[in-house]
Subunit: 239 residues, 2 copies
Amino acid sequence: WQQKKRIGQHLTRIKRKVGVYSGKGGVGKSTVAVNLAALHASRGAQVGIFDADIDCPNVLKLMKVEDAHPHMIEGQIIPAVMHGVHVISMAAFQEKEDEAIIFRGPMIHNALTQFIEITDWGDLDYLYVDMPPGTSDAAITVMQTMQLDGFVVVTTPQELAVLDARRSINMMKKLNVPVLGIVENMTSDIFGKGGGELLAKETGCPFFGSIQLRSAFRSPDRPAALADKHVRAEFERVL
Amino acid sequence: WQQKKRIGQHLTRIKRKVGVYSGKGGVGKSTVAVNLAALHASRGAQVGIFDADIDCPNVLKLMKVEDAHPHMIEGQIIPAVMHGVHVISMAAFQEKEDEAIIFRGPMIHNALTQFIEITDWGDLDYLYVDMPPGTSDAAITVMQTMQLDGFVVVTTPQELAVLDARRSINMMKKLNVPVLGIVENMTSDIFGKGGGELLAKETGCPFFGSIQLRSAFRSPDRPAALADKHVRAEFERVL
Ligand SMILES: Nc1ncnc2c1ncn2[C@@H]1O[C@H](COP(=O)(O)OP(=O)(O)O)[C@@H](O)[C@H]1O
Ligand SMILES: Nc1ncnc2c1ncn2[C@@H]1O[C@H](COP(=O)(O)OP(=O)(O)O)[C@@H](O)[C@H]1O
């Protein structure tokens, strides 16, 4: 597969490439990716985030990126930088942020591979790929073309989220992609606790710890891990 | 479009066809669809749910459907029935519920149109279509082939969910599909309040009310609207 080889060569300057994934939406994939990346950057690492959710991208909004307009140099996209993190997202190419991106599968695949091939990431210690929900086009394309070191699976303690996380892990096993470990998010009296840890035991994956449900995540002006010491401690344990 | 006409004729015995949608995952689309349907059924209406999330179906699990195996009569699928609601879902065709369904866009489109064409719904007062997140294949196929009366948009009060709900509404406007109204779900101190109502004002859509974040939704043995009087009152107001 020519493309996979080309992409592999293009990404050699990135030391570690990690996907953040679950088939279930709204469990905190973008939140976990953004906070892990921001924490790395605050410790001086060179780190990037690729928002692989082509039709409903959220990373620019979550990070409150100010100058989102993409800069192109010699046909390569230069990622925006916010809180020390290099960010690339489909949202940067939208006139208005609430414009509907109505792409069928093949166009999602093309948009993803284009972003991967023409973004100039420079030298990075870490690249986090924030995945969209579902086990369809975006997941298949990223798993088959980007040769990531592996995926962090995010789940809430709830029954439905754990079921879809299990499906995601089965997909990764089928496509021979490593599961690095499981993070439980939104642990609380309302949603429960322990669902993520139990999933880790049952699937034989490492358990990276849990993040409590907190109002500190309500549209902070910077990633909650930089703004709240409890959140910071939880993400440091995950790292 | 031959298929659209065929599907239209096949669905004539259903009085009202309503989609429950948002581009954002985890906002409560399945929860709202299941509780509205269960409430209708408890009042004696004939009601069905079509789980249009082909790769990560949750409706059978949410409703704790006991005999999920599909019954076929003369090539037509007979939906399972639980709490008086007729339910059809891709999950009924899985050997194991956590099996990964790895379909690209065209296969998602085909699976959806097959379900629509070969399910024998009988005479229904209401059919709710529980949509997957995103503005890609499933949303395009359902909006272009099923001629629904309209869609209920579900959002949480949070910034990201409201942004994706706005994108969904813009998609519906582009595809000429009616927005029936907006439901705000998970209203709470943690996630905020009023995001849904404000969205309704800004987009000129009716506001159907809000559902509080409650632990009553944590894997109940029957839909929370049947088990908890506060939840029931909230869903009655939405109806
Ligand atoms: N631990 C948490 N406590 C409170 N809110 C959270 C937490 N994690 C995520 N959120 C919020 O929940 C919503 C969904 O999270 P998001 O990262 O967008 O999930 P996903 O990327 O899986 O769709 C966002 O509005 C986010 O701010
Ligand atoms: N109002 C609520 N209060 C508490 N939990 C809720 C509420 N609405 C939904 N949930 C839970 O949140 C999770 C996500 O809801 P779900 O209906 O699966 O969303 P979607 O269909 O949009 O992905 C489920 O585990 C569900 O039980």
